[in-house]
Symmetry: C2
Subunit: 233 residues, 2 copies
């Protein structure tokens, strides 16, 4: 079988957006304005485990990547999430922004940080993602990040619907979503370029789709676990 | 057995400086001004493998470290070695500085980058260090970095002796050593604080000494391998 063209391969990757968790009943409920404060808090507290695992996952990719140019781009993700202070430039980072979201929805920092609300199956799904990044060839781990293709849309949806549906949430709490619309768009450029450059035969391209599907399944499974715990109505 | 006091423990760590490779016959020859251009080039080309492995090692530590504050400090080492460009601040990084050193001693970038001069035992020693960082508890991997306690002195020695002994090397080529005097001093503060805070019982303190010795042995073994290949006279 012939390899798909670069454009054809990218289109195949983008098609997988149909299984992005934006379509999961739990997310549809959250962004459709039907969630109770309890359900929103459950989502925010559980999703925090994903947030704190992301820099670990990205460091695992760096630790497997011998290409300095790739590392120079990829390390930005760690800085974005952990925050940094360098030569006068300061950013508190995405994890801190998520903690502010948590406080805006009525959770204490402490109850989020100590993971008391974390549903075991959410932990297992996130850990599966981190473990994949530790062990897979770094190009596959990079490919698994391509759910970022679909992330700006879900963040935009939150920004568009939450203020009207959930006026009890302080608007500054939504800053995380605002930052990620820009960051995810920029991040995906590097991840997509690496993926299109590396997976060039048909079997490799099919492997890339499998890897992306694995990551979509991670996000979907997290939502399944939260739906089971907090309900979807 | 009682734990050593914080000061006593730090003194024990510093005592290990007696097995730092500053005392290795190969280094004594290099810094004593008795090395031929061939020996200096051999050292620069081989040590390059250590330089390119350092960011991988540091990323492995990040990938094992759940403490965001530690990561925020530690990531600086990756930026220092790989270089970065962030919010108008730009640094070409230590790997690039080493390549400039290589050119200053008469090596082409290509012959350094393709590792054609790399002695197998140097590779094995460096890989042992990286593999340790991947698998050890992150506090032990941090502790293994404490050879930085002794690094400013060896860099100062190079800066003090090379220009007189080796006038054929362009002085700008020595910039790597100049940067590391400052960076190693700053880096060791974090590594030392973590080590003194974490290894608090006597068995743990003894383990820390063992870990530091392991790292000293890595550097010593690299010099053994280069001495065998390039000679010490």
């Amino acid at each position: 079988m012939n390899a798909w063209s670069r454009e054809g391969f990218e289109a195949k990757l983008r098609e997988r957006g149909r299984s992005y968790h934006i379509h999961h009943p739990f997310n549809v409920m959250l962004n459709g304005g039907r969630a109770t404060p309890q359900q929103i808090r459950g989502w925010v507290a559980n999703r925090f485990y994903y947030q704190v695992s992301i820099p670990i996952k990205d460091a695992a990719i760096l630790a497997n990547c011998p290409d300095r140019d790739v590392r120079r781009g990829w390390v930005q993700r760690i800085l974005d999430h952990d925050g940094f202070e360098l030569g006068g430039v300061k950013d508190d980072g995405g994890i801190e922004a998520w903690l502010r979201l948590a406080q805006a929805v009525g959770l204490s920092r402490e109850e989020v940080l100590d993971q008391r609300h974390l549903v075991p199956a959410v932990r297992f799904a996130v850990d599966a993602y981190v473990n994949f990044a530790r062990r897979a060839p770094w190009q596959e781990a990079v490919c698994s990040s391509l759910t970022e293709l679909f992330a700006p849309e879900i963040h935009r949806q939150r920004l568009a619907t939450w203020p009207a549906h959930y006026p009890w949430i302080e608007p500054e709490g939504l800053q995380y979503f605002r930052s990620r619309v820009t960051q995810a768009g920029r991040d995906v450029e590097q991840g997509l370029a690496i993926t299109l450059d590396h997976f060039t035969t048909r079997p490799m391209q099919e492997r890339a789709l499998e890897v992306l599907q694995f990551k979509l399944d991670i996000l979907w499974a997290m939502n399944d676990a939260m739906a089971l715990k907090y309900g979807t109505s």
